[in-house]
């Protein structure tokens, strides 16, 4: 009797641990948003905005990537350790590109005195 009770409680615990199935509308809204953002980035790329072109291109790509990660890859439902691990790759990448840019953007050409 008691063994049966513990079995059923284990079963309910297991069911709880399985994250709930994402509603269909969530996925469809995200897809619509991704395609709208794609159109937006293609459209703004054709307008002359100077530096803002780069900012918009990169910003829109970041938003698209975050939508995919959060909803399609279920990161909002993931536990902390998984979230931290998935953030790591992007953090290392930011360090790689950031430090490389620190170098190249702050270099000043110093001509040698005998030239």
């Amino acid at each position: 009797m008691s063994e049966q009770g513990s079995q059923s409680s284990a079963a309910t615990k297991e069911d709880k641990a399985e994250p709930p199935v994402t509603p269909l509308s969530h996925f469809l809204w995200i897809l619509a948003a991704l395609l709208a953002l794609l159109a937006l980035s293609a459209g703004t790329a054709l307008i002359k905005l100077g530096t803002w072109n780069t900012v918009l291109n990169l910003g829109i790509a970041l938003i698209k990537a975050l939508l995919v990660i959060a909803v399609f890859m279920h990161e909002t439902e993931a536990r902390k350790l998984t979230r931290l691990t998935s953030a790591l790759g992007f953090i290392w990448l930011a360090m790689l590109i950031g430090l490389a840019l620190f170098d190249f953007l702050t270099r000043t050409a110093v001509p040698s005195p005998w030239k």
């Binding site: 794609l38 790329a45 990169l58 698209k64 990537a65 993931a78 790759g89 290392w92 490389a100």
Partner: protein
């Protein structure tokens, strides 16, 4: 019959795990570790791209205008749709709709193939335009060197990305067949989740390739 039994039951728990939840979470964690190495694999190419673009911004803008923006945009849309299809496919398996799930996985794989075909057309077009450094590169003008650098990075980034798409197409195609045969079910779908994670990452890489390769220097 045997397959029916398989799909309705939870997967066997390996001895190092306490329960199916822990087993599933460990698998997801491992996949994300692999994806972190993939992010850095492409990250090195993106870092080189960033540095070269800072150094040769005009040349990169001129080179980007030589790429096919329309095909690039269609390819982006195809990958975004395929990502949602595979997400819906995993959802269908979890809701025990096996036929629908198999169709969604097959659709994802088919969209991946169409992506590769479109990219093939792009490469062919660039070959005709003499834009392949080392094989057939004949450009002149002040920015010729920068254009050569841009197209080197273009082939490395899109080439490795296409390789990843090809691997995904094969894996997801095989999984579509296994889903149709009933190898997965509401409580046995970790393999599908991991394949979907891989495919989404391939999609994310392309989300950044698209503006970097196709969209610079388009205005004016």
């Amino acid at each position: 019959m045997n397959a029916e039994l398989l799909s309705s039951e939870a997967p066997a728990v390996e001895e190092q795990f306490d329960d199916p939840t822990q087993q599933r979470e460990a698998a997801t964690l491992g996949m994300w570790l692999f994806l972190a190495t993939e992010i850095l694999f492409f990250g090195v190419l993106f870092a080189s791209y960033t540095v070269c673009r800072v150094l040769y911004s005009e040349g990169f803008a001129e080179a980007s205008r030589r790429t096919d923006m329309l095909l690039g945009s269609i390819e982006t849309a195809v990958l975004l749709v395929s990502s949602s299809l595979i997400a819906l496919g995993v959802r269908a398996v979890r809701m025990n709709e096996r036929r629908l799930a198999a169709l969604l996985f097959a659709g994802t794989s088919a969209l991946g193939i169409s992506f590769l075909v479109m990219h093939g057309f792009e490469y062919h077009h660039e070959y005709e335009e003499h834009l392949i450094p080392g094989i057939d590169f004949a450009q002149s003008g002040a920015n010729a060197h920068a254009i050569e650098l841009f197209f080197c990075l273009y082939y490395f980034i899109t080439g490795f990305h296409s390789l990843h798409v090809f691997i995904g197409v094969v894996i997801i195609g095989v999984l579509a067949v296994r889903v149709a045969r009933g190898a997965f079910g509401p409580r046995h779908h970790t393999t599908l989740e991991l394949a979907a994670l891989y495919w989404h990452l391939v999609d994310i890489v392309w989300i950044f390739v698209y503006p970097a390769i196709y969209l610079i220097g388009r205005a004016g």
